[in-house]
């Protein structure tokens, strides 16, 4: 009887008993700091989207569930969560400068071969047979990263503008930017959730890259980010596994 006993070794690869005989079962794609930052961002963004749409759809003054739980009006909750979100982003950028640079740097890099990936993408989201790409993120993910970064930045700047001027002609412009950024961001966020949650068969299992210890199945990583996985392997996985084998 084979018992799949999981062992975590330092580095980016998680090896199981089964893994020692060949490939590991899990890989770690994002470190804990990145995962917590991501969680902080999406929790605040979800609160902001909820309260923002609540106000936009004319329910202002009628306390939402979140307003009732927090004891403050939806408008105030939106404002204070906005401050928290802006603070989180500033903190993330300053403290995680290297990661922020990697995120932007890898997201703006496109290759001619990515066109093939896009051609196969509509079918691959159902079959999982994505074309190979060489990036840290897949080409679709890179576009999504850039869209989210630009729109969230626009929302932060216009949001700070709104509470700073409080009213008047500048307010009208900040309000327009804030509103239209929200209109564009909402479908992008929904798309991101659909993809990341693994609702589409091709992306099944991808959610683990950011949750529950970031233990992504090796096969999922191989399917979605093949070149990244190869680079990770060449960087240390073989040495780590060899080291573990020697000890056992």
């Amino acid at each position: 009887m084979t018992v799949a006993r999981r062992r975590r070794i330092p580095g980016r690869v998680v090896v199981t008993e089964r893994g020692r005989q060949g490939t590991p079962e899990f890989v770690s794609r994002n470190n804990a700091k990145t995962r917590w930052f991501h969680a902080g961002v999406y929790l605040t963004v979800l609160v902001l989207l909820f309260t923002g749409w609540w106000l936009t759809l004319g329910a202002e003054g009628d306390p939402s569930v979140l307003s009732q739980l927090s004891g403050v009006s939806d408008a105030e909750l939106h404002t204070w969560t906005g401050y928290a979100f802006a603070g989180l982003i500033v903190l993330g950028v300053v403290l995680g400068w290297r990661a922020a640079r990697t995120l932007v740097g890898d997201s703006v890099r496109f290759r001619r071969s990515d066109l093939r990936w896009f051609r196969r993408w509509p079918g691959a989201v159902f079959t999982g047979r994505f074309d190979r790409h060489e990036g840290h993120y897949d080409p679709g993910q890179r576009i999504m990263n850039l869209v989210l970064i630009v729109l969230l930045l626009a929302l932060i700047v216009s949001g700070v503008g709104l509470v700073t001027v409080s009213g008047g002609p500048e307010f009208v412009w900040y309000n327009r930017i804030h509103r239209w950024s929200t209109y564009l961001l909402t479908p992008a966020i929904i798309g991101h959730i659909v993809v990341a949650a693994g609702i589409l068969p091709g992306y099944r299992g991808a959610w683990r890259a950011m949750h529950l210890g970031g233990r992504l199945r090796y096969k999922v990583a191989e399917r979605l980010w093949p070149a990244w996985l190869e680079r990770e392997r060449s960087k240390g996985f073989d040495e780590e596994r060899q080291h573990t084998d020697e000890k056992t």
Binding site: G61, V93, V94, V163, V165, S166, V172, N175
Partner: protein, 156 residues
């Protein structure tokens, strides 16, 4: 050293973007004043209903505001109407006159009886513009009868 410079540079870029948001600091809307006294010159007078009067829902709210009222999108001030100091449940008033109906969130769950009707002048971003006032009204329902369970009422 190079890393520090890059970090500082990025922080500066981000701070600059935030400053763009702050750039229009010349606030030409209502500014702070003492509650009910309109210390800054901005004030709102409640013309209707009168202090101490009995109102039935729906009722007409008539205001006289020194600040121009309008929609949030217009960047003008507006007024929040609420009862008994519960400023998280309110009606947005964007003109000098408005019919307060039973659909208004401000009157949701409001029992008949004596209540404080609060008015708060707000900036377009819903922050307080510095003027607040209140009157007492008797809220009646079809003759102004008291509720069966007065203990749960929002009055005082």
């Amino acid at each position: 050293m190079m890393k520090l410079n890059r970090r500082v540079r990025l922080s500066a870029i981000f701070a600059a973007l935030v400053l763009v948001g702050i750039s229009g600091c010349g606030d030409d809307t209502a500014s702070a004043g003492s509650g009910g006294s309109g210390g800054s010159g901005q004030s709102v007078t409640i013309n209707e209903p009168a202090d101490g009067s009995t109102v039935e829902i729906p009722f007409t709210l008539s205001l006289d505001s020194t600040a121009e009222l309008g929609t949030t999108d217009s960047g003008k001030n507006h007024v929040h109407l609420y009862f008994d100091g519960n400023d998280s449940q309110y009606e947005v008033i964007e003109s000098d006159t408005m019919e307060i109906t039973e659909d208004s969130p401000a009157v949701a769950g409001l029992r008949s009886g004596e209540h404080e009707l609060n008015i708060s002048l707000r900036n377009a971003d819903h922050s307080a513009a510095g003027f607040e006032t209140s009157i007492n009204v008797q809220v009646g329902n079809d003759g102004g009868e008291a509720p069966a369970d007065p203990g749960t009422g929002g009055g005082y």
